[in-house]
Amino acid sequence: MRSYRRLLRKLALFLITVPVWLFILLPIVWLVISSVSTRAELLSVPIHWIPEHPTLRNYIDILTPGTVASEVARTFKATLRNSLIIATSVTAISLVVGSLAAYALVRINTPFRSGVLIGIMSTRMIPEVSLVIPLYILAARLRLLNTPMVLIATYLCFALPFAIWLMAAFFQTIPMELEDAALIDGCSRLKILFQIILPISTPGLVSTAIFVFMTAWDEFFFALIFTSTEAAKTVPVAIAEFTGRYVVDVTAMMTGGVLAAIPPVLLALIFQRYIVSGLTSGAVKA
């Protein structure tokens, strides 16, 4: 009797998970199916849920310039490269600069440190729109519009505070004793940071790197305003252009979408446990 009831409870619970599974997976599955369908099948009524002629043609088209007429598809590869360069640079800079700052704020008796930490955190509340106008004017004056440089610089406005916060939260979990011993031995603060703290902070560095990379990869607003050609345009901008008003290139839109989603989704899945701990240490992008 008891085990019967337990089984029933299990079954009921499982039935509740079904709609959750469907809601999570169906849109993604449809995205992937659309990316391996031919345009003719996608534009058919009634709808073809399972493509009769699955094809990787869309991927070949979007990744091999010169095979398709669509201007946007041709530049897609360039935008992938730009996104990669920009997100990687932003991640590297915020990790280095951010961990110096986080260390100064958490472990050194730096003047005004709690005020500075709160100040840095509160910059996250500043909407991007209120930075973009002066940054645009400045970038235009410096002739930096439409360069990866301008995006790397502006992305630091959200990436750096982010990195400082996450690293600070992580450094706080490291026992003081480790440093005290080194300090007594006369080690300099920099040496302690680089030889003792950072090596044991790998989990913190990894989760910070993933969050910063994903946010930079995701960023759209600044990229939309600051870039216009394949010299600096990023993947989100390229994808948004597929939805351009006159020609909607559905297959390119879906294929580009899958390609753009692969890096962050893979990163997040591989480093799952860091993601959840990073999320709970707060202040992470939603």
Partner: protein
């Protein structure tokens, strides 16, 4: 024997402070340069009639603000932004809590479900938007395909031409993206709750609903609050997903305050007005920030 280390103490402290400031310096320079300075110039520009080109800026005092506050369009937009924020965040927290509770009661496959939740959260916002735009497509979309095969609609519906429907469908896309975020936070928090309290309540004869309401929810409050505030601040300045799904349409029906700022500044070239708008957004979000930091910044106690 106690000898006080007389000489080094003071200078060591000074040296420490100096090291700290030096380590902090690069970050401060970057943050002041690309955040504080622009915010101040935006505020400054909001008192001018300005353009993105080389034209002269004309001082108008509070003119931009006065015009905005007198403009019914501004108030509709504010109302719409609040609608988006309240409905999407409200539903996200409720559904997210539900999913977290579900995972925490360990149904078959709960680990896989927890992993799967990461996917919608990790999909870039723009991809999320294009995906839903395609699902909502009037002529070939999956929503129409599904509903007509289920016999719920006779003919395909152009969903995105109705302002209210369009707004709600944008909210659905946002929910898809953000429920996992909230569910993951709350699930992690739930997993750390002590079982004893719940067992004690059970012994005292509290039913499942009572236990949830009076034992678990109060303990979850800090985590819920964090999720709520982070999401509210984000939702209030929603831009990307609206840009791809509806581009503010139909008939400005999905224009939110960030979108209006974008249109004013970059489509209509009213830089001063756009600056005034973005300053107002900052005020709103800073008000939320106040709450945010008060509840998040607790260095001595983390859960």
């Amino acid at each position: 024997m106690q000898t006080s280390p007389r000489l080094p103490r003071f200078s060591l402290r000074k040296q420490e402070a100096l090291t700290g400031l030096l380590l902090l310096l690069p970050s401060l320079v970057i943050i002041l340069g690309i955040t504080l300075q622009p915010v101040i110039s935006t505020f400054y520009l909001s008192f001018f009639e300005a353009s993105l080109g080389r034209g002269e800026n004309i001082f108008r005092g509070l003119g931009n603000y006065r015009e905005l506050l007198a403009d019914p369009m501004f108030w509709t937009t504010i109302g719409r932004t609040f609608y988006f924020t309240l409905v999407s965040v409200g539903l996200e927290v409720v559904i997210g809590l539900g999913v977290a509770l579900l995972i925490n009661s360990h149904p078959p496959g709960w680990r896989a479900l927890r992993t799967a939740l990461i996917i919608p959260w990790a999909v870039p916002t723009i991809v999320n938007g294009t995906m839903w735009r395609w699902i909502y497509n009037a002529d070939y979309g999956a929503l129409n395909g599904l509903l007509s095969q289920l016999g719920l609609i006779d003919h395909y519906v152009p969903w995105l031409i109705y302002p209210r429907t369009a707004m709600n469908l944008v909210i659905v896309a946002d929910i898809w993206h953000s429920v996992p975020f909230i569910a993951l936070i709350l699930q992690a928090a739930l997993a750390t709750l002590p079982v004893e309290l719940e067992e004690a309540a059970q012994v005292d004869g509290a039913n499942a609903l009572q236990r949830l309401w009076s034992v678990r929810l109060p303990l979850l409050r800090p985590a819920i609050l964090v999720a709520l505030v982070i999401r509210s601040v984000e939702a209030f300045r929603v831009f990307d997903i609206i840009y791809v799904i509806t581009a503010g349409g139909p008939a400005f029906g999905t224009v939110t305050i960030s979108y209006l700022t974008y249109l004013e500044t970059f489509s209509f070239g009213h830089v001063g007005r756009g600056s005034a708008l973005s300053f107002l957004i900052s005020l709103f979000t800073l008000a939320m920030a106040f709450v945010y930091i008060r509840f998040l910044y607790r260095p001595e106690e983390r859960y």
